[in-house]
Symmetry: C2
Subunit: 347 residues, 2 copies
């Protein structure tokens, strides 16, 4: 099935080697022969077999990309950005999902090794920051370069590119403090998980900087880092009757969940209280109230990741850089001066 070099060779009446040389535009081949071979190849609908090519060349131009969830907008944007950069550089992307499970990450990476990819960019599952990462040995055995993106395993000494989560959270909370807010609730997931942990450190830092002490009880632990959990916890908070100046969440979807709960209880954002998200996915601008949020430069993460990986591939060396991208705050309409402060000023 299909056309092979041999078929073209027979048709033109030359050897396989000549056809190969001609199709790769080696100038050793006489102009006329080359033209004839190209024409015949075209006419026969020849498509080179990269499988065979890779086998004989003993190197692939495939870059693997392990993400956790195709349906998550944030990763969708990351994939889009990465793929563009990989293609630009003449490599071919191969994307797989770990479904946010470490066991699947292992399976997928084993598959990539069997594929003999040149390098891999790994986005680890959100839930796990500690793991016995056994596949690294295999990657080294097969000379496959790798790095982690958007997060990393704390117990593994490997290169990564991610956003300075702590600083992002610091910026958000500092801004809220500047606006007079004090009772700032923090909605996160498990306090042990990196995404939550790092952000809460930023939260505390902002308070400390002002000589204030963060009230740990304002760190609300949500079951999952999603719309529903955030909605539920915000509802509970509102019903409890405590004073809430502001709420920060560890991603934008959670902020939207929170927003829904607030609005359903007649609380106005930002008049009654402020709300800040995290990530700046497209939908934060599309929400009921355009969300103030911490912008993570996805493009920068992907650019640095791809560049570092390709650098490792081309120099045939596994490096160990740790790259932190600095986030910044995007102020939109979900935040304002603390209502308590406003009341005082109004007098």
């Amino acid at each position: 099935m299909g056309v092979r070099l041999m078929d073209i060779a027979k048709e033109v009446g030359v050897s396989e080697a000549t056809v190969s040389l001609a199709l790769n535009n080696k100038t050793v081949i006489k102009e006329e022969t080359r033209r004839k071979i190209w024409e015949t190849a075209e006419r026969m609908g020849y498509r080179p077999n990269v499988i065979a090519k890779t086998l004989v060349k003993q190197k692939s131009n495939v870059i693997g990309l392990v993400i956790t969830d195709f349906a998550n907008v944030y990763f969708g944007q990351f994939v889009k950005s990465c793929v563009a950069k990989i293609v630009e550089n003449g490599y071919q992307p191969l994307i797989a999902s770990s479904q946010d499970k470490f066991s699947e990450e292992e399976r997928v990476i084993d598959q990539f090794i069997s594929q003999r990819v040149a390098g891999i960019i790994i986005i680890p599952p959100t839930s796990s920051n500690l793991h016995e990462v056994t596949y690294l040995k295999s990657l080294e055995t097969y000379g496959i370069r790798y790095l982690y993106a958007t997060a990393h395993y704390t117990n593994v000494d490997a290169p990564y590119v991610m956003v300075n989560l702590k600083h992002g959270s610091y910026l958000a909370v500092k801004y809220l403090l500047d606006m007079g807010h004090r009772r700032i609730y923090f909605l996160g997931a498990h306090p042990q998980q990196i995404p939550t942990k790092m952000r809460f450190e930023g939260y505390k830092e902002a308070f400390a900087e002002r000589g204030l002490e963060a009230d740990e009880s304002m760190m609300i632990r949500c079951e999952n880092a999603d719309f529903e959990s955030s909605y539920v916890e915000t509802l509970r908070l509102v019903k409890s009757g405590v004073r809430i100046d502001a709420i920060t969440t560890i991603n934008d979807i959670m902020a939207l969940g929170s927003l829904r709960a607030l609005r359903e209880n007649g609380l106005r954002v930002p008049e009654d209280l402020s709300l800040i998200g995290y990530d700046d996915i497209v939908f934060s601008d599309v929400a009921a109230i355009p969300l103030t949020t911490v912008h993570q430069d996805i493009d920068a993460i992907s650019r640095r990741s791809v560049n570092l990986l390709i650098n490792m591939i081309q120099n045939d060396i596994q490096r160990n850089d740790k790259i932190l991208i600095e986030p910044h705050l995007v102020v939109r309409n979900s935040t304002g001066v603390c209502s308590a402060v406003r009341d005082i000023q109004a007098r």
Copy 2:
């Protein structure tokens, strides 16, 4: 670099063939030999080279998937669903984006052919329904099975799986008519494009069924099928001062854009007018006002697509099925009885 069958063979003191047989668990090999080979393979960190395997077996288990945009939630969900089903069936997914451009679709498919994939699921660019699709001949030359999903080229006789767009729109408009709405604006893209065209046909059908004639001037052509364009056109509509009973859009993002324009002008949804989206992406439920929308069963599209493709691959035959999935209306909070009708009833 890396471990080969030969390395294991040398280590154990048997032939390559024996190692191959043993690792593939052929029972011809003596239990003890097999065990020893497995142990050694494990110890040496052996990973089979699928490149070589594919070459010799002369068949691949890779299914290509061409989408238009990784950052689009709708396709993100489709990819997720497809990938799960492809993996379940023991195949390996290979995903690429056409960036919504036909030229890129061609490039990507050529790449897939060079990869000698077993079959391809193609999501065509939204903008093009007519195209000289030259790659089909190549696909046939190399015996690669294919089908279109979520849309198709009208001038090409090839299998496809998509939602009955016309019927979805019909359901939405019929519902609005039932609620007493008459001045129903339709926000779409170019009237020639399939997604817009089919939906507007459903719109007209719902009117016709009631013996009403659809007013073509209520079909508003947006520059793009996105948030911004929809926002702009809705704004223009509102400012023009015409009476608006309801608005339907061809996707949920557009509905959100529309919603923003309405709210900014003090119009309440659904009290003052109703709004219906299309697609039922996650965010329609997360919007300021949970959106009434037409649900497209992405899971069904992907299931039917993958099943049909695998059927073709395994029976080694290119079929030509056209599969239409029936959509249904999901009523949430953005729709209600027409205010004009309510006023009358209130008297």
